[in-house]
Symmetry: D3
Subunit: 148 residues, 6 copies
Amino acid sequence: MNNTIKVAYAHCDGPCGIYDPASARIAAEAALSMTKKILALTPPEDKADPQAVAAYLNTLSRYVAIKEEQAHLAKTELLVLWTDYFKPEHLEKYPNLHDTFWQAAKLCSAVKVELSLHHAEELMEAIEEIHNIFWETKGRKVDWVTAG
Amino acid sequence: MNNTIKVAYAHCDGPCGIYDPASARIAAEAALSMTKKILALTPPEDKADPQAVAAYLNTLSRYVAIKEEQAHLAKTELLVLWTDYFKPEHLEKYPNLHDTFWQAAKLCSAVKVELSLHHAEELMEAIEEIHNIFWETKGRKVDWVTAG
Amino acid sequence: MNNTIKVAYAHCDGPCGIYDPASARIAAEAALSMTKKILALTPPEDKADPQAVAAYLNTLSRYVAIKEEQAHLAKTELLVLWTDYFKPEHLEKYPNLHDTFWQAAKLCSAVKVELSLHHAEELMEAIEEIHNIFWETKGRKVDWVTAG
Amino acid sequence: MNNTIKVAYAHCDGPCGIYDPASARIAAEAALSMTKKILALTPPEDKADPQAVAAYLNTLSRYVAIKEEQAHLAKTELLVLWTDYFKPEHLEKYPNLHDTFWQAAKLCSAVKVELSLHHAEELMEAIEEIHNIFWETKGRKVDWVTAG
Amino acid sequence: MNNTIKVAYAHCDGPCGIYDPASARIAAEAALSMTKKILALTPPEDKADPQAVAAYLNTLSRYVAIKEEQAHLAKTELLVLWTDYFKPEHLEKYPNLHDTFWQAAKLCSAVKVELSLHHAEELMEAIEEIHNIFWETKGRKVDWVTAG
Amino acid sequence: MNNTIKVAYAHCDGPCGIYDPASARIAAEAALSMTKKILALTPPEDKADPQAVAAYLNTLSRYVAIKEEQAHLAKTELLVLWTDYFKPEHLEKYPNLHDTFWQAAKLCSAVKVELSLHHAEELMEAIEEIHNIFWETKGRKVDWVTAG
C-alpha cells in the first residue's frame, strides 16, 4: 500500500489552502454585538401582560441563540486554523501558539455561557493577535478591519 | 396585540447588524481553489491498480464535495446580504440590485454543477461588485483583499 | 477546457428537477402555528415557584426556537425556487418575480424577529402566490392544500 | 414537581401539530430522480482525457451525494411521522404500522446504498401508502400529487 | 440492470458496521443532566434588575437548547440502530423490538417537551435495555458504564 | 455588571458535565472501517459497462463521504474535550496535553485526506491514550472497549 499513501500525500497540504482569520472575526463581532444587545434589553414593565412578556422572551431567547451560534462558529473557525493551517515550523517560531488558541477557544465558551462584555471584547483581542500571527507567517501585511 | 408587535419591531433591524461580504468572498475563493485543483488532477496511469484508482477517486470526490459545500456557502452568505441587509432605500439607489444577486446566486450553482474556471472567476468578480456596493451603502472605503 | 465545460453543461439544468412549493408551505405553516401557540401561552401565576417558571420558559423558548427554525426553512426553500428553478424566461413573464421573492424572504425574517400573527399569515399568502406562479410555469393546475 | 409536569404536559401533543407526508414524498422523488440520472450517465469515451474524466466524476459524485442526502431526508421525515405523529390509538387501527415504517426506512437506506430504480420506486409506493394512512387518521381526503 | 443491483447489494450490509449504543447513552445522559440543572436554577430575587434577569434567562434558554439538542441526538442515534442495525432475524428473537424503540423515541420527545426528571431517567433505562439487547445479538458481554 | 457575571460564572463549569471519549472513539472506528472497505473495493472488470462503473463509483464515493464525516466528527469530539473539559490544572499534570490533541486532530485530517490504514490505526491509538488520560483525571478506571 506504499504507493497509495504516496499518491494521497501529494494532496496532503490541505483541502483548498484558503484560510482567513476574517471568518472567526466576523463571528466574534456578531457574538459581541448580541452580548451588547442582550445587556441593553429591558423587561416589560407590566409583567402581567402575557404578550409583552412573550415578546421580550422571544427577542431575548433569539439573541441568546444567535450569540451561542456565533461564538460557536468563532471557535470552529479558530480551531480550523489551529489544526489545519498551522504546522510544526510555525510552532517553533510561535512557541505559545497552542496556548493562544486554547485561551481563545475558552473565551468562545465564556461568551456562550456568560453575558460578559469583557470576555466578548477579550475574544476580539485574541482574534486580532491570531490575525497578526497568521498574516506574518504568510509574509503579508493585512489590516485588521472590522465590520461593526 | 398591537403593543406586542411594537415591542418586537424595535429590534426589527436584524439579529446583530454585523454583515461582511468577506464571508461570501472566502467561500468563493475556496470554491475557485478547488475548481483549479480538480482540473489539475491526473488519473492514475495504471488503471488496473485498485488502490491507485481509489486514491485518485478519494481525492477527487473530496474536492468535489468541498467545492459543492463552499459554493453553497457563498450562495447562502450572498442571500443573507440580499434578504437581510439590503433595504428598499438601497434598491432605489441600485436598481439592478435584485438582478446582481440573482446572477451571483446562479453563478454559485454553476460553480457547483460544472468544473468551470471561467464561472468560478466570474463569481469572484460578482462578489467584488457586491463588496463595493455594500461598503458604499455604509459610507466606508474597504479594500478588496483576498486570502488566496 | 472547452470540452469539459460542454460535458458539464449537459447536466446544468439542475440537480434533480424536483421542485415543489409545498416544502416552503409546510415550514411556513409550522411557523404560523408556533406564533399562535406562543401568543396563547400564559406565564405561571406564582412567579416565586422556580419550577413553574422554568416549565413556562422551557415551553416558550422551545417554541421560539422552532418558530425560528421553521421560518428559516421556509426562507431557504423559497430561495431555492428563486435561484435554481426560475429562469430568465420566467422573469419576462412575471416581471415582479424578484420583488415577490424578496418580500416573501423579508416576511420570513419578520416571522422570526417578531411575534406577529399578521406577518405569519402574510407569509402564507405570499407562498400561495408563489405556488400559483410556480405551477402556472409548469402548465399544471395543483390545488393549494394546507396540512394545518 | 407534579405541577411542573402537568404544565408541560399541556403542550405534549407535539411542537406545532403540522405534519405532512409531502415532505417525505418530495425527498423520495428527488432520490428517485437522481437514481435515474446516475443510471443514465455515460462515462467519457476518451479515458485518457483528465478533464473529461473529472467532469464525469464531478457530475456523478454530486448526484450520488444528492441521492444520499435526499434519501436520508425522506427517512428522517418518515421517522418524524412515526415517532411524533402516530399515537397508540393509531397502532390499534393499523396493527402493521411499525412494520410499514421499518420497511420504508430500510428502503431509504437501500436507495442510498444501491443504484436501484426498483427500490426507489418501491419507496415512492411505501410513502403513498403512508400518505393514505396518515390522511385517513385525520379524516381528510388528500390526493397523492407528485412534483416530478 | 440486474447486475448493477447485484454489485450494489454486496455492500448492502451497512455503511461501516460500527454501531454502539454508547452514542445514544451519552446524549441521554447529557439531556438528563440538563434537566437536573434547569430544575435547580433559581430565578433572580430582584426581578427589577434587567441584567440579573437576562443572566438567568441566558443560562436557562441555553440549557433548554442543549437539552433539546441532546434529546434529539439520543433519538437519532436510537433510530439508526432500529433502521440500520436490526434485521428481520433479530425481530423474530425480540418480538417487542419495534415497540421498545417506539417507546424510547417517544421518551426522547417527552424529555424535550417537558422538564421531567422521571422521563429523563426512564429514557436512560430504555437505552440500557437496548444496550443489553444489542450486545446480546452480537454475542458479546459489554458492561453498562455511564460517564456522569 | 459584576453581579451578572457572578451569576453566570456559577454555571461556568460547562454545559452539562457529560464528557466521554467514547464519542470520538466510535467515530474513529467508523473512519477506520471505511478506510478498510475502500481499500478492499475492486473496480468493475468491464470498464465499458456504464452501470457497473456507476455502481462502483456510487459505493466508493459514499464510502469516502462517510470516512470524511466520521473523521471530522472524531476531530470535533476530540476538540470538545480539549477546549471544554481540560482545565489549566490538567495541563500541569499532563504537560504534553496540547500537543497530544494537536497531533490527534492532525491525524483526523490525514484520515480524511488519505486512504491510509496506518494513520487510521494511529488515530485509534491516539484516542486510546486520550481515553486513559481523561479517565485518570476523573479518578476512574474505565476499560477501552471497541465496537468493531
